[in-house]
Assembly symmetry: C2
């Protein structure tokens, strides 16, 4: 974490007046956000950013982050907000380039905390090779927000001739998972519940350009998805439904850390439904599965990747997802109706 | 306003579970947002949207809307969220094309209100000829939001060879204002304060593509700005500072409705500092002022436009803005320190 000195002429906490569009707003923007996000495009004093041409097709994605607590083992809302949108752009097969960042800040938020968050955003943006080019700052009264909510919206360049499509899954395709499940959700939940583990569970929050670019170089991907809210179960159900296929995954093949499994058991949660922020599901044709897995495993964030299952022909009862248990029997993996873990991202 | 029937299988109010990323989230998104925003790009079930190429340069702008009350005379947070971002893109000289829309919804928000807001967004998007191509929905607990906050982020195409620049103002340039000041802010404030006026003050919330495109066809614009938070005073001060010039405006030349003036007097507000959501400041070279004014006045939203002042050489005490009063003396127009009107947009 970078050091976050509070500039001399800023108060220790955000006041409503910082959201009024006057001198205090300028001060907050210049001394905190411009300081951390500085780049040539952001520096122009327009209401918006002017960006260069971006190839034949552009990917665009948006997410507002409302995670609580704002700081958790492995990250904070700032890097989460960058990594989340970067990964959504990557899931379009695109190279992320530019991000906007819009803050809704609760009156009384500590400027020092805001600096820590902005510093984490800057570091995550640098790591992901994206620039924060335009922004917005609003302040609302105490009790009308929860510290800070951050929207990031990103755009990126889609390579020519690439068409990732959630409805393109075919029986025989392999399901690759690039890392262990449940780390982000359980980092948040153990923190919220005050659960003491022998080892601290850390969020997996990370941008996954390394994995995605490695995959795009060597295989013909059907689709990429990051299993965030709703976990692996939601992602696989959405893909099965979009393609009208069945998916069977093997319980023993799914990477899952022992401490995460224990924490899930203690809190009565199914790790298949827990949110992740640093892994991807990649679906590839069967004959490219080994090549794809090797490419992922060689990537910085993919060392624990595994082939976890297979796409199958639909059965007469409609598209669904099955989990094969260690002794050969299987159970259906449903999408949750509502939330298991509110405000996880 | 379109009619907003609540789909049969939706509850009357938003529950926390609608933000969990499961079936209820899908239901809310499909039955409310997809219903109103439907277009070919949004319909693909990606985490992001894939957009076609967009010319040599792209403009990008973001804004989160936290206005209270959510519904006010002349509009609601929905059309405001579209028009505000569309106008910011227009201020870059660009043609707005695609918008993202991200919602943070407070548990307990009426689905019917959400439908009204989504319908207003769809109508405003249609009017502005933009498409809402990707989105996000989060739900937070009661008391962690105020109904709904909406982020919109937009991208648009910048015409070749156009360079609007807030630092390009030159002594002699004319300042054109495209309509009366204070309408949005005072529509909100009279509503909040329960002030009964003989005529209801309506927000000027509107997208201003008609005016901007008319201007770009006939004159060489120095810069365009929409005077929202902080009002005309903030916008002119920012321009004077960016260009290192003085600006003098004539009080008698500034369009201001009588009821807005009265409401400002009653609440002790200076209309120069009150937010607007449907007017623009255009700065043009002196010899093109008449042509520019005529073009604006012929536009649907520009009938009340006026030349309100002139750019002047800087004086030794630094860049500043002056208001010439009816009897010839003048007073300095300062940028507000903080907010006069919190949560106005």
């Amino acid at each position: 974490m970078l050091s976050c000195p509070i500039p001399d002429n800023l108060p220790a906490a955000v006041e409503l007046a910082h959201g009024g569009g006057g001198l205090l707003t300028s001060q907050l923007i210049h001394q905190v956000f411009d300081h951390y996000f500085h780049n040539d495009i952001l520096a122009t004093y327009h209401d918006g950013a002017i960006l260069p041409a971006m190839g034949e097709r552009i990917a665009m994605s948006t997410d507002t982050f409302v995670v609580t607590p704002l700081f958790f083992p492995g990250g904070n809302i700032g890097d989460l907000a960058i990594n989340g949108t970067v990964n959504d752009i990557l899931c379009c097969g695109a190279t992320p380039r530019y991000l906007s960042a819009a803050f809704v800040i609760e009156e009384g938020m500590k400027i020092d905390d805001l600096c820590k968050i902005a510093a984490a955003m800057a570091a995550a943006a640098k790591e992901a090779e994206v620039e924060i080019v335009t922004g917005d700052t609003k302040v609302v009264e105490r009790g009308r927000c929860d510290g800070v909510y951050i929207n990031t919206t990103g755009i990126g360049i889609v390579p020519p001739n690439l068409w990732l499509d959630p409805s393109s899954l075919k029986p025989g395709d392999a399901i690759i998972l690039t890392g262990p499940i449940g780390n982000h959700g359980m980092a948040i939940m153990t923190q919220r519940e005050g659960l003491k583990m022998t080892s601290e569970i850390k969020s997996d929050s990370a941008s996954l350009g390394d994995i995605v670019h490695a995959l795009l170089r060597v295989v013909d991907l059907r689709v990429l998805r990051d299993p965030t809210r709703g976990g692996l179960a939601a992602t696989l159900n959405e893909l099965a439904e979009a393609s009208g296929v069945n998916i069977t995954i093997e319980e023993t093949a799914i990477p899952l850390r022992e401490d995460v499994r224990t924490a899930c058991d203690l809190l009565g949660l199914d790790p298949l439904h827990v949110a992740n922020e640093g892994i991807m599901v990649a679906v590839v044709p069967a004959d490219q599965a080994a090549t794809a897995l090797e490419a992922v495993k060689r990537s910085a964030h993919g060392a624990e990747a595994a082939i976890i299952g297979t796409v199958e022909a639909p059965d007469p009862q409609g598209a669904k997802v099955w989990l094969r248990l260690p002794y050969g029997n299987r159970r259906r993996v449903e999408q949750m109706r509502g939330e298991q873990l509110p405000r996880i991202c």
